[in-house]
Amino acid sequence: MRDQALRWVTGAAALLAGALLLLILAELFRASWPALVNLSVKDWLFSGQWAPSQGHYGLAAMLAASLAVSVLALAVAAPAGILIGAWLHLGAPSWVASPMRALQGVMAGIPSVVYGFWGLVTLVPLVNQWAPPGAVLITAVLVLALMILPLSVLVTDAALRQVPERSLQAARALALSRWGTFRNVMWPTVRGSIASGVVLQFGRALGETMAVLMVAGNVIRWPGSLTEPVRTVTANIALEMGYASGLHSQVLFLSGLLLMVFVLACMMLVRGGVRL
């Protein structure tokens, strides 16, 4: 009897979660449909000119900015996170390792707007001293990297914990160096989980809105230099959605749909099993 109830409740919860995702996709599709019909792909996907009041709805520069910011943040945070995670298992004394894990857990839980605010009041004035106006691409990259670093550490840490103790014992018996143990015993076991972790972090970076909005400068231009402001797709939605109507708002929905599809594609990549 109780088992029956449990099955229903869990089934309903799963159904609800799945249905919500489909509903969101359907709603995004419905809300952006007029834009898809009325604008040619060339105008919204391949043009970088965004001036809704003059009828220009090109998303390309902002899409490029989103990708640039996320890829660079990942390039900073993922290797650093993997190294820190590995160090927790290989070199760190336990009185450092456990507070460090707790700290990473806390860092992962801090709301993004807090990172954004810190970036705005601390990092932006700092960057401003060598690259005015301070709210530029590199600032956004740094804030985002800081946000996904704990995820990267925790994923690596959890993955390394899956390495069977007997493999480690065998490595010790063979008198492998720490590097040898990491490279030959741990890495082959964990690289799959770490790779999917990296893809998840990429999705997180791509979808991040508030923190990026506060530090990226939000000027619409192609990302060409680390010291120039850019506007990401998410920041654009947050900046303009409250003030948009008609085709303008439909294109904003369309850009949301694009992000969603992209993130879903990343997730499928993970499910399909990425290999490094």
Partner: protein, 273 residues
């Protein structure tokens, strides 16, 4: 599967019923402009205190949201911090207060006045260093607002600027963000609601207003009509106001509300009843 579906339906209904269960008092929903929301929120609290059994929900989200919600009927009253456009003539606007828009620079900038032409050249990127206009060696950082913002529209119209030619270094959304950005950068210039700017400057933000066309941005200049860059803050409705909505809008436009309006650094409109 069928059973799971039934359970889902039942729990959704339970949620719905419990959400509606609190409806034993009358509720007025007001949405829109983030400039107006804090003022209307305070006035709503005053109004609730003197009218037990009434609830006034104030939600911000931008002037366009106010217009959309009123048209759709999800809000009875909308807050719009600019004049209604031609294509919005189906709505009725009720002026609540006037707000000036101030050009804002960092405290360390010795500048105290700009001509309209200088403002235009700064925003078109022709003046790149402050030493062109004042005794200050610092690159100019132009802080601009996102497309569709009411402040942006008023600013562009007043200085006759073409938004496509403006060369911003930084684009922000809310007034607060603009003020923070100017406070954190000695070379920055931005434009924000005078109300919001004074509020932050009083709390110690290192920013100051710049006179345009010889008039400094302060409340008195807005009240007297001398300050050139002002806008009306409006409540809007779709069709004639009725019942609670009418009563509340009347209250907001009555002299009883003037003190609150001044608290928020806006100027009550002389003609309001």
């Amino acid at each position: 599967m069928g059973k799971a579906f039934r359970l889902l339906a039942v729990s959704m209904m339970a949620l719905f019923v419990s959400a509606c269960g609190q409806g034993d008092h009358e509720t007025l929903v007001i949405t829109g402009s983030s400039t107006l929301a804090p003022l209307i929120g305070d006035l709503a609290a005053d109004y609730e205190a003197s009218n037990p059994g009434v609830r006034v929900d104030v939600q911000s989200g931008g002037s366009s949201r106010g217009i959309n919600d009123v048209r759709r009927g999800t809000a009875a009253v909308g807050m719009v911090s600019r004049e209604l456009r031609e294509e919005e003539s189906d709505l009725t606007a009720y002026v609540v207060a006037r707000d000036g828009i101030s050009l804002l620079v960092h405290e360390s900038n010795p500048l105290d006045a700009l001509s309209a032409d200088q403002v235009r050249r700064i925003y078109y990127g022709e003046i790149r260093n402050w030493d062109d206009v004042t005794d200050f060696q610092e690159p100019v950082t132009v802080v601009h607002k996102g497309e569709g913002r009411a402040t942006l529209a008023v600013f562009l119209a007043h200085f006759d600027l073409d938004n496509g030619k403006v060369q911003p270094d930084l684009v922000v959304g809310e007034n607060q963000q603009a003020i923070r950005s100017v406070a954190g950068n000695p070379g920055a210039i931005g434009y924000v609601s005078i109300g919001a700017a004074n509020h932050e400057a009083e709390r110690g933000a290192p920013v100051k207003g710049v006179a345009i066309e010889g008039v400094s941005p302060d409340k008195d200049a807005v009240a007297s009509g001398d300050y050139p860059l002002t806008r009306n803050l409006n409540l809007v409705s779709n069709g004639p106001l009725q019942g609670l909505a009418k009563d509340f809008v009347d209250y907001v436009r009555s002299p009883q509300a003037h003190e609150r309006i001044r608290d928020h650094f806006f100027t009550p409109v002389a003609g309001t009843r």
